[in-house]
């Protein structure tokens, strides 16, 4: 069995975001980067399957981006991936989901992975497209937003999270791709000995130019903060003052306290 998990490194979402010089993405200065939260669930599920299958199973982690993404790759290796592919691309942020998926599928095409795991979406761009496009380009089965995963003898049984807390149960034959939703499992912390041992695992660096043959299909023309909703009242200052004002507003504008 050959498994692949695709991860992205994203900024800490608690950060303040400022547009970059071109005004089309965030300025990276002063941002701390970490593994996309959805991808942590994908890595954990891939590692669990790797452990379930034991010898003869190989789990590769892939990430596209500048040198900094090696830290996220190493975290995946410390969590239990066997080896890694780093698609080196200092301008990954400017690629649209179509291009990112094309890069991944170009990498995966000849390597015949049985199961590919991705996060359901990235926290920064949030397109929720890449995983599905990869599966379509590779011509393999795919389902999205899974919150439960089982594998037995060539068949994946997964539960998809639907709106309103309902789940949809699906079965897929491998080769297949699944996109992972938050809550799928409880991602492990990498242990310190495993962080140190991950140094010895192989990270293959591949230039993005070798894999990317596609032009972008959609361009980001602006990155900006949301416009403030007009009419919203902002109350600052003393707590007692704030309480008085909120109560006055509630009496005035709603029937709640009347």
């Amino acid at each position: 069995m050959k498994l692949l998990v695709c991860i992205k490194q994203v900024p800490d979402l608690e950060s303040r975001f400022k547009p970059d010089a071109a005004g089309v993405w965030y300025n990276e200065t002063d941002l701390a980067f970490r593994m996309n939260e959805y991808d942590e669930y994908a890595v954990e599920q891939a590692v669990r399957l790797r452990e379930q299958l034991g010898e003869g199973c190989e789990l590769t982690v892939l990430s596209i981006g500048p040198d900094r993404v090696v830290e996220a790759i190493k975290k995946s290796l410390a969590m239990g991936c066997d080896n890694a592919a780093h698609i080196q691309d200092a301008a990954a942020y400017s690629k649209d989901p179509w291009q990112i998926a094309s890069i991944i599928s170009a990498y995966a095409k000849e390597r015949n992975f049985d199961i590919i795991f991705t996060g359901m979406q990235s926290q920064d761009r949030g397109s929720a497209q890449v995983g599905v496009i990869v599966a379509e380009l590779l011509g393999i089965a795919c389902t999205t937003t899974i919150v439960n995963f089982d594998y037995d003898n060539g068949t994946i049984t997964a539960k998809r999270e639907l709106e309103g807390g309902i789940k949809g149960v699906v079965k897929l034959k491998t080769p297949a791709l699944v996109t992972c939703q938050l809550g799928l499992n409880v991602p492990r912390y990498p242990t310190l000995p495993n962080i140190m041992k991950a140094k010895k695992k192989e990270i293959t660096a591949i230039s993005v130019a070798e894999l990317l043959k596609e032009e972008s299909l959609a361009a980001t023309t602006s990155f900006h903060p949301p416009a403030k909703k007009g009419g919203g009242i902002v109350l600052e200052g003393d707590i007692a003052d704030q309480v008085e004002k909120v109560i006055a507003i509630l009496k005035d504008k709603t029937a709640v306290l009347r």
Binding site: A128, G164, G165, G168, V170, A219, T221, F223, A240, L250
Partner: protein
């Protein structure tokens, strides 16, 4: 601009969110047609063309076949935009259609922008304007971002049939965990978010809900941390609510949460961060520590 709207149908019913697609189409302007894998007994109140495939035959979740049906309708209608809801159905299906057409896809559209589309990013903190470079565009629209619009009338139904196998076998639904509270019916909801700090502080938020005569709600992180059970979750993966009053305590306002509560009549948000996205939709933003403001507020109301 010509659009093909993809309606949603689940467990034998057309979903009400389908009407948001008409709201979007009205803003975009131009002609539109709809496609739905559903049933003749569940038709949208709309007088235009409806490409209808039978869900009993095609399956409610069968991406391979649904893709085929949509491509068939695209062939006939030749639309500029194929529009889905940004839902578990839409984000699963839209990229498959986009790849088949090699069309640009813009996800989670929240508004129209000059020559393109406005989408949220960075967990709802920021926005991007995206301009497609292809002749056809696939869109998924964020729930709650466009008005519900019932055009009225009876559709001109054109039946579609599809044959062929599937790579994803759908075996059934699993009901949501039993609810101990029905937020959808609540007139007042007081919700706890990550900013509440810890499980021990939940009773403080519950106390305010009780004082106001409302129900306790929660954001996803709070439910994931098991501070509050899932039946209290507000948002796209929990319940969509529209109470008379919604009080968001320590909720920064991830877009998934906002989509679940932004239709509330009146929204009060209590947050330490003045720039939190919740401030965007709140009628009143109280910039304060939740654990200081809420007890003081509760005490004053209870009096």
């Amino acid at each position: 601009m010509k659009t093909l709207l993809i309606g949603e149908y689940r467990e034998g019913k057309m979903l009400e969110s389908t009407y948001e697609l008409f709201g979007f189409a009205a803003q975009l302007g131009g002609e539109s047609a709809m496609l739905m894998v559903g049933s003749e007994s569940q038709l949208p109140a709309y007088g235009g063309t409806l490409y209808l495939a039978d869900a009993a035959a095609c399956g409610e979740y069968n991406p391979d076949m649904h893709k085929k049906l949509i491509l068939e309708a695209v062939q006939i209608e030749n639309p500029d935009c194929i529009v889905f809801l940004h839902s578990s159905y839409g984000w699963d299906l839209a990229p498959r259609v986009a790849v088949a057409l090699k069309a640009a896809q813009v996800s989670e559209v929240i508004a129209l922008a000059d020559g393109g589309f406005e989408v949220g990013c960075c967990n709802g903190k920021m926005r991007r304007t995206v301009k497609p470079a292809t002749a056809k565009t696939v869109l998924t629209i964020q729930a709650g971002s466009f008005p519900v619009l019932q055009p009225g009338g009876t559709p001109d139904v054109r039946k579609l049939e599809a044959a062929g196998g599937t790579t994803v076998e759908f075996t059934g639904y699993e009901a949501a965990e039993k609810k101990d509270v029905d937020l959808a019916k609540a007139e007042i909801i007081v919700s706890a978010g990550r900013g509440v700090g810890k499980k021990d502080n939940i009773p403080v938020i519950q106390a305010l809900a009780t004082a106001l005569g409302g129900e306790l709600g929660a954001s996803r992180p709070v439910v994931d941390a098991e501070w509050v059970s899932h039946s209290h979750q507000v948002g796209t993966t929990g319940q969509t609510v529209s109470p008379k009053l919604y009080v968001a305590c320590g909720i920064s306002g991830a877009i998934q949460h906002l989509a679940g509560m932004k239709k509330s009549d009146f929204i009060i948000a209590i947050n330490k961060d003045k720039d939190a996205p919740i401030g965007e939709i709140a009628d009143v933003l109280v910039v304060a520590d939740v654990m200081q403001f809420v007890p003081a507020f509760t005490a004053k109301i209870a009096r």
